[in-house]
């Protein structure tokens, strides 16, 4: 898993999503938006992301601003629309991507994460 600073990354094409959860896909970038869950505690923000078919080493975290966390992960194999339940569509996905707007400011330098059973869990302190 790697964590990147915000300076060298272009803004993603994805629009921001609900801070509660996400779903769907982006056929243009061949990426799936994962399910996620965000909780704002008194001193920190906890974000979990469901990432089936992902190896921990392929997870990338990035904070494009103090109000967003961006997650991307290459999948261990190609995933078809069929597997997502859309049998009438053709196409393949090779990654997950989510840009999650967060409702509080965070200290992105102190981001901590763990990956277990295909679920990413991120803890990051809130700035005061």
């Amino acid at each position: 898993m790697s964590s990147e600073s915000s300076k060298d990354r272009a803004e993603p094409r994805h629009s921001d999503h609900s801070p509660i959860h996400g779903s769907g896909w982006n056929a243009a970038s061949a990426s799936i938006e994962p399910l996620y869950n965000l909780f704002v505690a008194a001193s920190e923000l906890v974000l979990t992301v469901d990432l089936p078919y992902v190896n921990e080493k392929k997870v990338k975290l990035h904070c494009p601003s103090k109000e967003a966390i961006e997650i991307s992960a290459v999948t261990t194999r190609k995933i078809t629309f069929h597997e997502l339940g859309a049998k009438h569509r053709h196409g393949e996905f090779t990654s997950y991507h989510a840009r999650i707007r967060i409702p509080v400011q965070i200290d992105s330098k102190k981001i901590k994460s763990k990956f277990k059973h295909g679920v990413l869990e991120i803890h990051v302190p809130r700035t005061k």
Partner: protein
């Protein structure tokens, strides 16, 4: 056809009397839906009916090229499974719970078991999810056969809570089996744990290996229904049931 306020139970084939009924409705971690689907396919239960309602989303599901209600009944010789492929909308919950229990009285159901999830914040760190049981009457504790811990205190929000209460009022034995799971991620491992308890209670031998082996595939395929279910759970304040946010603090 059984007609209740706002919905009908359509029986399209013979449904046995004196059976055990298992409910697999989408909720926390989709535990019930995943477990019930696995029961239907493992025991090769036949489709015997459906639930029709104007309060359900205006949708059908296609199976084998045929249009079906997303909420259907399956049955074997002594087992009935209610399975929904869509989140049950909030306005339908009360009439559904009342109507189902009324219907089970007519069918002389011996036991109604509802399979669901119980969200825990540290689910990632749990290798073997625990199963808890809420009972409509104390004497059902014997039936559990040591397969679940009794849930003595707490809230159950949604269809299963209402069903259990209606069962208690109608003197129908009812068990809500709630398995530790992720809140809004499909959880086949929790579904397998729930099925292991079902096996003990009903003395069945359903193999849960396939659920575990195909875990990633199931999680991916169930992503959209989990997403829609989460929206419905938010409407009914389902997260408050387990006091989820403070667990993170």
């Amino acid at each position: 056809m059984s007609d209740n306020d706002g919905f009908q139970i359509m029986e399209t084939a013979s449904i046995p009397n004196d059976a055990v009924m298992i409910n697999g409705l989408p909720d926390v971690g989709l535990v019930g839906l995943l477990a019930a689907s696995h029961i239907v396919s493992s025991l090769k239960l036949r489709e015997v009916g459906s639930i029709e309602s104007d309060m359900l989303p205006p949708m059908i599901v296609l199976h084998g090229g045929l249009p079906k209600s997303p909420v259907r009944l399956f049955a074997g010789d002594s087992l009935i499974v209610l399975l929904s492929e869509t989140a049950i909308p909030l306005p339908l919950l009360r009439p559904l719970a009342s109507g189902l229990v009324e219907w089970t009285q007519k069918k002389k159901i011996q036991l109604m078991m509802s399979l669901g999830g119980m969200a825990v914040a540290n689910r990632q760190d749990i290798d073997s999810p625990k199963v808890f049981a809420a009972l409509s009457e104390k004497k059902l504790e014997e039936k559990l056969n040591g397969s679940a811990e009794i849930l003595d205190e707490g809230y159950i929000v949604g269809a299963y809570g209402l069903l259990l209460r209606r069962c208690a009022q109608a003197s129908i034995p009812g068990i809500a089996l709630l398995t530790q799971s992720y809140y809004n991620y499909p959880d086949p491992v929790a579904a397998a744990a729930a099925l292991t308890s079902v096996n003990k209670i009903l003395q069945l031998k359903i193999d849960v290996g396939e659920l575990l082996k195909r875990g990633e595939e199931i999680r991916l395929r169930s992503k959209d229904i989990m997403h829609r279910t989460q929206e419905e759970m938010s409407r009914m304040n389902k997260a408050h049931e387990y006091d989820l946010p403070p667990l993170y603090g």
